[in-house]
C-alpha cells in the first residue's frame, strides 16, 4: 500500500542520510492501534530514549548517571528529563507515525511531554503523520509551532507503485494486457480514496468484481 508509514520510514532514512556525521539523532516510533495498550506515552518515549542513547558513540556522563539511577519501572518524568538533556545538546529529529492510533489519554500525556522536551531544545524537530482530527490537538499543545501538509500522492508515484505491485502479482493468470492497462489508466486518475480502496481490496478483484 501507499501508506503513511512508508512515508515516515522514508523520512527517517532521508534525514539520517542528510545528517550523517553531524552529531544529529534521527529516532522514530510507529503507533499501531492493535498495540494500543502497550504503546503508552512512557513506553513510546522510553523507546525513543533507547534509540538515541544506542546511537551514541559515547554516552555523556550525566545521561549515564541518570540512567543508572533509574530503579524499578522507569517513570515518564525520568524519561522526559533524560530526553531533555540529550535533545538540548544535539539536534534531534523525532518521526512519529500514525499518532492518531495512540489512545487519547496517552496522546495527551505524550503532547505534554513533547512540549516539555521542545521547550528546552531549540534544535529538536518532530515529524508526525496521522488523521487530520489530531491537527488541532497538536496546535493546541504546541502553541501553533506546527506546519501541516495535506497529502495527495502524485500520479507518477501511484503509477510507479502500481507497476511494481503488478509485477509481484501472485496470480498472473488472472491478469492480461487489457486489464493491466485499465488499472494503470483508471486508478491514478481516480479519487485518492478509490486508489486506496482498490489497493486494499486487491487490484484485480476491484476491477473484475
Amino acid at each position: 500500500m501507499l501508506t503513511c508509514c512508508d512515508d515516515s520510514s522514508l523520512v527517517v532514512d532521508r534525514l539520517a542520510d542528510q545528517n550523517r556525521g553531524q552529531n544529529t539523532s534521527v529516532i522514530c516510533f510507529y503507533f499501531d492501534f492493535a498495540a494500543r495498550n502497550e504503546q503508552t506515552a512512557t513506553s513510546m518515549l522510553g523507546s525513543l530514549l533507547k534509540q538515541v542513547i544506542s546511537g551514541m558513540e559515547r554516552v555523556p556522563e550525566n545521561i549515564s548517571r541518570s540512567l543508572q539511577a533509574v530503579s524499578g519501572k522507569p517513570q515518564l518524568g525520568d524519561i522526559v528529563r533524560m530526553l531533555q538533556l540529550i535533545t538540548s545538546s544535539q539536534p534531534t529529529f523525532m518521526v512519529i507515525d500514525a499518532l492518531d492510533e495512540c489512545i487519547p489519554v496517552q496522546r495527551f500525556r505524550l503532547f505534554d511531554s513533547l512540549k516539555e522536551i521542545v521547550d528546552k531544545s531549540p534544535d529538536a524537530r518532530i515529524f508526525v503523520t496521522g488523521r487530520p482530527h489530531i491537527r488541532a490537538e497538536i496546535e493546541w499543545s504546541l502553541a501553533g509551532r506546527m506546519i501541516s501538509v495535506s497529502v495527495v500522492p502524485p500520479r507518477d508515484d501511484i503509477v510507479r507503485f502500481l507497476r511494481v505491485r503488478l509485477s509481484e502479482d501472485e496470480t498472473p493468470d488472472a491478469m492480461d494486457e487489457s486489464l493491466e492497462a485499465d488499472i494503470l489508466e483508471k486508478i491514478p486518475g481516480s479519487m485518492p480514496e478509490m486508489c486506496v480502496v482498490a489497493m486494499v481490496l486487491g487490484i484485480q478483484s476491484y476491477f473484475t468484481g
Binding site: 501507499l2 522514530c28 516510533f29 504503546q39 530514549l49 540512567l67 496521522g130 488523521r131 509551532r145 508515484d157
Partner: protein, 180 residues
C-alpha cells in the same frame, strides 16, 4: 530472579542479525530463557553503521553478558562472560564461542545497554526494517521536496524555521485502517 543477557555489535547487517537470532536464540532455548528480543535494529541496515544489542531476561540464577565481536561470517567470534559466581560457567561447555572470561559485577554498570531494556520493551526498529524492506523505490520522494519539509528540517537557506512540528495528513475521507 531476572537478569540480563547482553550482546552488542557495531556495523551489523542483515546477515549478522540472522546469525544472532540463530545462535543466541539457541542459547535462549538451552538456558530456558523466558523472553528474548533483539533491538534496536533500526539502524542496522547495510547502509548504516549500527549498534545492535540483544537482550534477554534469564530465568536462571546466573547473570550472563555476551559480547559479540564479529558476527555473520566465518570469523564469527563471541566472547562470553559469566558475571558474579566464577564457579557457575554455565556457557563454557558451548562450542560456538571462542573465549570465556569471568567479569565481576562492577563492569555491568559501565555498559548501559542492559539498562536500556528497562526503559521500554518496544522496538520500533523492527517495524522500520520491515517497512524499509517492502517500500517501493522513489515513491514518496516528493514530500522531501516540499518547501514545508525544507523549512522544517533546516535545508532551506534560512536554516530551520520556528515550526517544531511538521504534520503530514491524508484526505479526511481516507481511512487509515483501510490503507494498511
Amino acid at each position: 530472579m531476572t537478569l540480563p543477557l547482553h550482546c552488542q555489535k557495531s556495523g551489523i547487517g542483515f546477515t549478522g542479525c540472522a546469525w544472532l537470532h540463530r545462535n543466541v536464540l539457541g542459547i535462549q532455548k538451552e538456558l530456558s530463557y523466558q523472553r528474548c528480543f533483539i533491538g534496536p535494529r533500526f539502524s542496522s541496515t547495510k547502509r548504516h553503521p549500527a549498534f545492535l544489542s540483544l537482550l534477554a531476561i534469564s530465568s536462571t540464577d546466573h547473570p550472563i553478558l555476551l559480547r559479540c565481536d564479529r558476527v555473520g561470517n566465518k570469523q564469527s567470534k563471541m566472547s562470553q562472560y559469566t558475571i558474579g559466581d566464577s564457579n557457575t560457567n554455565c556457557l563454557n561447555t558451548m562450542n560456538s564461542y571462542n573465549t570465556s572470561n569471568v567479569w565481576n559485577n562492577c563492569t555491568v554498570a559501565e555498559d548501559l545497554s542492559p539498562l536500556l531494556t528497562w526503559l521500554s520493551p518496544l522496538d520500533p526498529g523492527l517495524r522500520h526494517s520491515d517497512i524499509q524492506e517492502r517500500r517501493v523505490n522513489n515513491v514518496g520522494e516528493w514530500l522531501m521536496g516540499t518547501k514545508e519539509f525544507s523549512r522544517w528540517s533546516g535545508l532551506s537557506e534560512g536554516g530551520k524555521g520556528d515550526e517544531v512540528v511538521l504534520f503530514y495528513y491524508r484526505n479526511p475521507s481516507v481511512g487509515k485502517t483501510f490503507i494498511r
